[in-house]
Structure formats: C-alpha cells, structure tokens
C-alpha cells in the first residue's frame, strides 16, 4: 500500500492522472445528484460559494483544512514507514482533551506560559495515545491497525465522559467545557488563528524530515522493506515507538489547536471525523507533506462548502463525504499497478 500511494508521486502522466481523478468523481457526483432530483449546477455553485464565495467562507475552508492537514501529516509519517495508523482521530481527541483541561483548569498561570503549556499538553496527550499503539506493536506484536482504531473509540468516550464530568462547565447547564482562558491569537478581527502558521511550519519541517534527513531515510526504508532495514542495523522497536509518538504528537497538536483556536471550549463531537478523512488526505497527497497540504485544502473546501450546499441546494451535507470517498477511490484507481516483475532485466 505504501507503493500504491507512492505511485501518485511518479512524475509521468501525473497531470493527466490527477485530472482524471478529479473529473471522474465530479461526473459521478453530478450524475448522482441529477438522478436524485437535485440540480448539480446549483449544488456545485452553493458548494463553491460556501468554500470560497466570501472572506468568511474562505476562512472556513482554511480552518477546516488545519486539523485535516495535521492529522494527514500524522497518517503520512506512519504510512511511509508501513505503519497503518488509523488512529489520528483518537490522537486528535486526546490533544483536544488535554488542551481543554489545561486551558480551563490552570487559569491562574500567566497567559504567556499557559498557552504554550496547553499546546504542549495537547501534543503530549496525542503522543501518549500514539505511543500506546506503538508500544503494543513493538513489544507485544499487536497490529497497530487494530489498536489505533480501538483507541479512537476509547478517546471518543473519554471526551463524552469529560464534558459531563470533570471538565463540564461551571454552570453545569450543557455537556460542554468552559471557555478556555487562553485562545490562540488571531489575525485581525477575522477567525484565522496562529495555529495555521504552526501547521504550515510543521508541514515544511516534516517534508524536510522525511526527505532530507537520515531519520526520514530510515523510516522510508523501513516502510519499503522492514526486513532489509532491520538487517542493516535499524532498531525496529525504537523506530515504531518513535514514529507513533511523533505522529500522535502532530495529530494531538491539531486537536489542541482546534480547541484553542476554533471551538474555544471542549465539545462532544467537535470533530466531524477529521482523523478519518485524514487517511484520504494523506493518500491523496501522495504521502508527501507538501501534497498533503494541497489535499487538506481541497477537503477543507469541500467540508466548508457543505453547510451552504445543504442550506441553498437542499443537498445533505453528508454528500461531501461521498465526494471525498469517490475522489480517493478514483485517484487510487487511475494509478496503475506496478509491473508484475520487480526484479531486474535478465
């Protein structure tokens, strides 16, 4: 599967393939909408306006792209090394939980210290959740696919419990947390927050880490042939645990940024499944941080436009998930399988 996704990055015919990968799902969606009695043009317009139609709409796109990007990066790191981390959602939720706890319970701290602490706590919580899966895989051989997925459910319940228990707002009126004491700084009077800059910096750093460092080289080598990499002297346990810790930290930070920058309080169900969409984002981005950036933006736009699409075209917002799924499937479909033989000539 590493190689399946990597085929996206082959330069030959890339433009044609990507055009196909966009045109096929668009065509199918249009057909589907028309058959269901909606106007596909109206829908497309509403979707576009919802994502880019105004400054406010564009902000919405960027804000949704941010957690998708960070979770997509977490998935990318792991997939590159052949570790199927589908627990970005749980890692994101853990980060959110930790940021909310610090942001509402340590209010006596000075703001300059509290904000970094909250973000750090978010990263650490995400890393902890990722690290559990990594440790289980490295030392007990538990497949990370299973453990990361299960941990998603654990964290989902943990949030549900927290907003009705220890982290519920003082008034106790709704199942939600208090407003955090230290929201992320914003640009001007818009909704864009400093977390977006952090996400961009992390994207760049991970691009360098994966493709221009010795560590990234080892990770990629491990993903392509773990046995040979092990025989070459790389310690697999250290690598697996380290990677899942790192990936968890990135996704956890995404959760922290979402709480401190967007929702400003812990809400049950604040994530519409960013961590799951991130798997599609990572694959669509060709498992490259720079590609993930583009894919996160695309999916962010789709999800931002969904609300307007529902209101003005009457098409259920859930249709965007159908669109996302079809985009991913068609991208994987247009990338051809490699030649049957992987050996040399002769």
């Amino acid at each position: 599967m590493v190689e399946t996704a990597l085929r996206l990055t082959l330069p030959q015919h890339r433009a044609r393939r990507l055009a196909l990968a966009v045109l096929i799902p668009v065509g199918l969606m249009a057909l589907f909408l028309e058959l269901s009695g909606y106007s596909s043009l109206t829908t497309a317009r509403a979707l576009f306006e919802g994502a880019f139609g105004s400054g406010y709409a564009f902000e919405g796109t960027l804000l949704r792209a941010c957690p998708l990007l960070l979770c997509g990066l977490a998935v990318t790191l792991c997939f590159r090394a052949g570790l199927w981390n589908i627990g970005a959602e749980g890692q994101l939720l853990a980060g959110a939980l930790a940021a909310a706890a610090v942001g509402t319970r340590l209010t006596s701290w000075p703001v300059g210290l509290l904000l970094p602490t909250a973000l750090l706590a978010a990263s650490c919580a995400g890393a902890l959740v990722g690290g559990i899966a990594g440790g289980l895989r490295a030392f007990r051989g538990v497949p990370e696919v299973v453990s990361t997925l299960m941990l998603n459910f654990v964290l989902l319940q943990a949030i549900g419990w927290s907003v009705q228990g220890p982290l519920q707002e003082e008034s106790g009126a709704y199942p939600q947390g208090d407003l955090v004491a230290v929201p992320l700084p914003r640009f001007g009077d818009g909704r864009l927050h400093g977390g977006l800059v952090m996400a961009l910096v992390i994207t760049l750093a991970l691009e360098v880490l994966l493709f221009a460092t010795r560590i990234g080289f080892r990770w990629r080598a491990f993903g392509l042939n773990p046995e040979a990499t092990r025989a070459a002297g790389v310690r697999p346990r250290r690598l697996i645990v380290g990677l899942l810790l790192g990936a968890g930290a990135v996704a956890g930070l995404g959760g922290g940024i979402e709480i401190l920058g967007v929702t400003l309080r812990l809400l049950d169900g604040f994530s519409p499944g960013y961590g799951y969409s991130a798997i599609a984002v990572a694959l669509l981005g060709g498992l490259r941080p720079s590609g993930v950036l583009v894919a996160a933006f695309l999916f962010g736009a789709l999800e931002a436009g969904a609300g307007r699409m529902q209101r003005f075209a009457g098409v259920p917002a859930a249709m965007t998930y159908l669109a996302e799924a079809m985009i991913l499937l068609s991208v994987l479909w247009v990338t051809r399988p490699p030649s049957r033989r992987s050996g040399g000539v002769g």
Partner: protein, 515 residues
C-alpha cells in the same frame, strides 16, 4: 531426417526494451519437442526476459511467438498455462505459510470442492513419486529447504500438464547431488515428447544436461551449439564476448589476530534440531568456509553472527570483546559486515535508488558534504542528490552497471549483488559473513566477487563464507567446516577435497534439511 519438425515453441524476432536498456534484440529461437534446450548467458543477457515473454509475464515490443506452428498471443500467465507453458521462476512463487500439499492444490486443483488434508498429501506423494520428486508435506513451505521448495515448484509445473517447462536458474542453490537428481527427472520427462528450457550460466551443467545450447549476449542470440561439438572455453567466449581469464589464485594466508571467536554456541532453529557450534575461531586474513545445503542451519548461523538472532548460550567475541548480547547495529558499528543470501528480502530495498541502498547501513560520521546546501548547518540532514554524487566512485570501483539515481530493482541480479557487496565492503569490515554471495551471479560477476573477498582477506578481514557452491568454497577457504542438520564439524586440512566434502554433505542429506 531432412524435414525439421515443427517446433513446439518458436520466438521470431522478439524484441523488448526497458527504458534505455535493450533487454531483447530480435531474438529468434526454436524449442523442439523432446529436447532439453539450454539458454546460456550472463546476468542481464536477456534470458529471463525472453522466458517471461513466453510465460506471459512480459509483452514483447516487437516479434511473434509461435506454438505448434501457430502464431499466438500470450498476454497473461494464464494464457501461457493454457498453451502448456510452465515457468519455474528464479524467485519461487509459493505461499510460504501453506504446506507443500496445499501449495500444490492451489495450482493443480483436484476438482473437488471438499477435500481432506490426507487426500492432498496422498496426491502430492503420488505425483511426486511419478516424477521422482520427494517433498516433505505438512510443514509450512517457508520452513522447507530451498531444494525442497524448488522440487515443489517443478512438480507444480509438471502437474499443470505443461508441455514446455521453463526452469530459470534452477541450480543456483542446489548442490551437485541435487543437480544430478534434477537432471534425471528432466531427462525422464523429456522422453514424453515435451520440451525443457533450462536457463543457466553454469557451463558444466549446461554441457552435461542440454541437447542444444543457445547463447545470449546483451539481448541477442550469439550462437547455437550442440554439446558434442563445443566445449566450456568456446561457450564462455560466446557468453562474455572474450576469453575467460585464468582461475583465481589464492595466496598463502597470513593469519592475524583473532577477530571472531565462538564457543559452545547454541541457537534454536525454526525447524529441526538447534544449531550448535562447539568452537570456532577465525583470525584476520582467513576465509572460513561453511559447506552445506541451505536449511541445515545456514540461515541461523548467519543471523547469529549478524545479531539478528539471539543465541541461547555460549560465547561470541569480536576482536576480543564479548558481543553476544549486542544487537545488529551495535555489531555493525564494531565492524561487522554481512552479505545475506536473499538480496531481495534482506539485502536491498528494491524501490529505493542504488545510491540510497549503498548508504542503507548509515553514513559514517554524519558527513557535512552529504547535507543539502541550504541545510548544511543542520546535523542529520541528507541530500538525495549528494548521495547520488557520492555513490559514483563506488559504482565505478565495483563495476556496477546502472544509474545511481535509478531504483535498484532496475539493475540485473549480478549488479544488485554488487551493490550489497559494495555497501558492506566499503565499510572495511573486520569480520564479514557472506551467505551464498554469488548465487545467481554470472561468471565474471562471481569472479569479481571472489577477487574482492580475497582482497579483503589480504587486508586482514576475517571472512565467514557460508555457501552451497563447493567449488567456490574449495577455491576461497583457508579452513572448512560442514553444517548438517544444525551440527557443525570442522574438517581437517587433509579433507580438503571435493569428493570428501560431497560425501560429508550427501548421503543422508539428499532429502533436504529435515535432518
């Protein structure tokens, strides 16, 4: 007979290119019923590619295939099977977790939806007996010796009622005794009016077995001979385009200090009795040969030395220091080099570039000149472009034909092996362990590898050479041991003889490694 019979299989002007490489250049070749047709050539000469065309694994860019005088399109392995073409590839196509009888059933279906395991076993045994191929059943195929796996592959091809059986380097991992067994099976089978295509680069085998020999060089047919009318010298000249240099001379060894010492070592094996080595001391400047058929503890010995496998008891010292508990990277850091038997699985990362594979062991001392220009200040960074540049002299030194930036999978087998060799030797290992280092490598390539090993011996490395190739062992080793069913026996110097060695390995071992 004046009238030439219609060939079973005919290639007519078949060409195939891979990017800039011409793998096949207008090859015309007949395979007749009742013959063993040897295809001889260096690695990269196009032998495998030609046979992959017949087996439906590759499509020719130009040219035609004729079966029984009819032009045919073979666009998939299934189409090839329907036409009666069976291929036993160099790299086996077996499901390692399934047993031999289950693998057999996968390909040669019994035609019943419900079956009992015992029926499958009986069928494997019965069909095996017909062709004289004995294969242990019930055990996962991945645990069987290479010879057993190969017998199973051949039986699979025979079982699908192939009329043309193609064997791609079938003897690469076989001992002389196993080769004789295989030869008698093929001779018997040929009598039934079918044909065998036998790919090899071992001249003696080809001369002993084939009815006709076609020699390929750089994708083109350069000659066709009958074994009675030719000899090894002529074939070698056709194959490599020049006269083979005289055999290597091993100089007197000058043993240095003890570099590797093993005492009372014991390691569990996946199957069979454990590997036990009472005592083994190797000095710098020595090559210690370990003879034996794979599956008798060879893999375990290799892994115990590299640190990939833990030994339960004993002593293992490198350069006088205890390294029993050290892991792979610690031992590598102390100067251990390793050339694994299966380069695709353990030696290389096929999807990565040649340059990256050369640096897979890590880069000594975080070289600044390998960092990207804009990140020169940041330790631990690595520029892929600089890696490619730094690889150029290594490629030249080891005569590796290929692009440093290209995926290593695009190289021929011999060149891939040289990449592994280059990586391990350029680290100047104090102790080197090599397992079948010339498996599937052509004459010149093997000679080059032997030269390099002797060169490092002269420079004071201690080399453990685990091999199934007796000629290689006798030519290179200063001392010899045999490893049979996990048991180690060092041979006294007067037993350095092909027959003695063959006897030590043969006899009870002929069935493979099930001890």
């Amino acid at each position: 007979m004046n009238r030439a019979p219609t060939p079973l299989l005919r290639f007519e002007n078949v060409s195939r290119r891979f990017g800039p490489v011409t793998a096949l250049d207008r090859v015309t070749l007949d395979v007749r019923a009742g013959e063993i047709h040897a295809l001889l050539g260096e690695n990269g000469a196009g032998k495998s590619t030609l046979m992959h065309v017949a087996a439906g694994l590759e499509q020719p860019d130009a040219g035609e295939l004729w079966i029984d005088g009819q032009p045919r399109e073979i666009d998939s392995p299934r189409a090839a099977a329907t036409l009666g073409i069976g291929l036993v590839s160099q790299h086996f196509a077996l499901a390692p977790a399934l047993s031999a009888e289950e693998n057999y059933e996968l390909v040669c279906r019994a035609g019943r939806r419900l079956y009992r395991r015992r029926d499958l076993e009986h069928r494997l045994e019965r069909d095996g007996r017909v062709h004289g191929l004995r294969i242990p059943s019930r055990r996962p195929v991945g645990e069987l010796a290479v010879g057993d796996q190969q017998r199973l592959e051949i039986l699979k091809a025979l079982g699908t009622e192939s009329r043309i059986l193609i064997l791609d380097e079938p003897t690469a991992a076989l001992t002389a005794h196993e080769f004789e067994e295989l030869a008698s099976v093929l001779r018997r089978w040929r009598k039934t009016g079918r044909a065998v295509v036998f790919i090899s680069h071992k001249l003696e085998e080809v001369l002993a077995l084939a009815d006709r020999i076609t020699v390929l060089r750089r994708g083109a047919v350069v000659g066709e001979r009958i074994p009675g009318d030719t000899d090894a010298t002529e074939l070698a000249r056709l194959m490599i385009g020049e006269t083979l240099p005289p055999p290597l001379e091993r100089t007197q060894s000058k043993p240095g200090p003890v570099r590797l010492r093993i005492e009372n070592l014991r390691a569990e094996r996946d199957v069979g009795p454990p590997l036990e080595i009472p005592s083994l001391t190797i000095r710098g400047g020595e090559i210690f040969g370990v003879a034996g058929i794979d599956g008798n503890g060879q893999q375990e010995l290799f892994q115990v030395i590299t640190g990939e496998r833990q030994s339960e008891a004993g002593l293992l010292e490198m350069d006088g220091e205890d390294r029993l508990q050290a892991d792979v990277s610690q031992r590598a850091a102390r100067g251990l080099g390793a050339i694994p038997a299966d380069r695709h699985r353990h030696g290389l990362i096929l999807a990565m570039s040649v340059a990256e594979n050369l640096w897979l062991r890590g880069i000594p001392g975080d070289r600044r000149d390998l960092r990207p220009r804009w990140l020169r200040w940041l330790p631990g960074t690595l520029s892929r472009r600089r890696l490619v540049e730094a690889a150029a002299p290594v490629l030249a030194e080891f005569g590796i034909r290929g692009e440093a930036a290209a995926p290593v999978s695009e190289l021929s087998g011999g060149n891939q092996q040289k990449v592994v060799l280059a990586r391990e030797l350029s680290r100047e290992p104090g102790v080197l362990v090599a397992h079948n280092p010339t498996r599937g490598v052509d004459v010149l390539g093997a000679r080059f590898i032997h030269e390099k090993l002797l060169d490092h011996r002269a420079r004071g490395s201690a080399i453990v050479l685990i091999s199934t190739d007796l000629d290689e062992l006798l030519r290179l080793s200063d001392r010899l041991a045999v490893l049979v069913a996990g048991r180690w026996r060092e041979l006294p110097p007067e037993d350095r003889d092909r027959d003695v060695l063959g006897r030590a390995l043969g006899g009870r071992l002929s069935g493979g490694g099930d001890g």
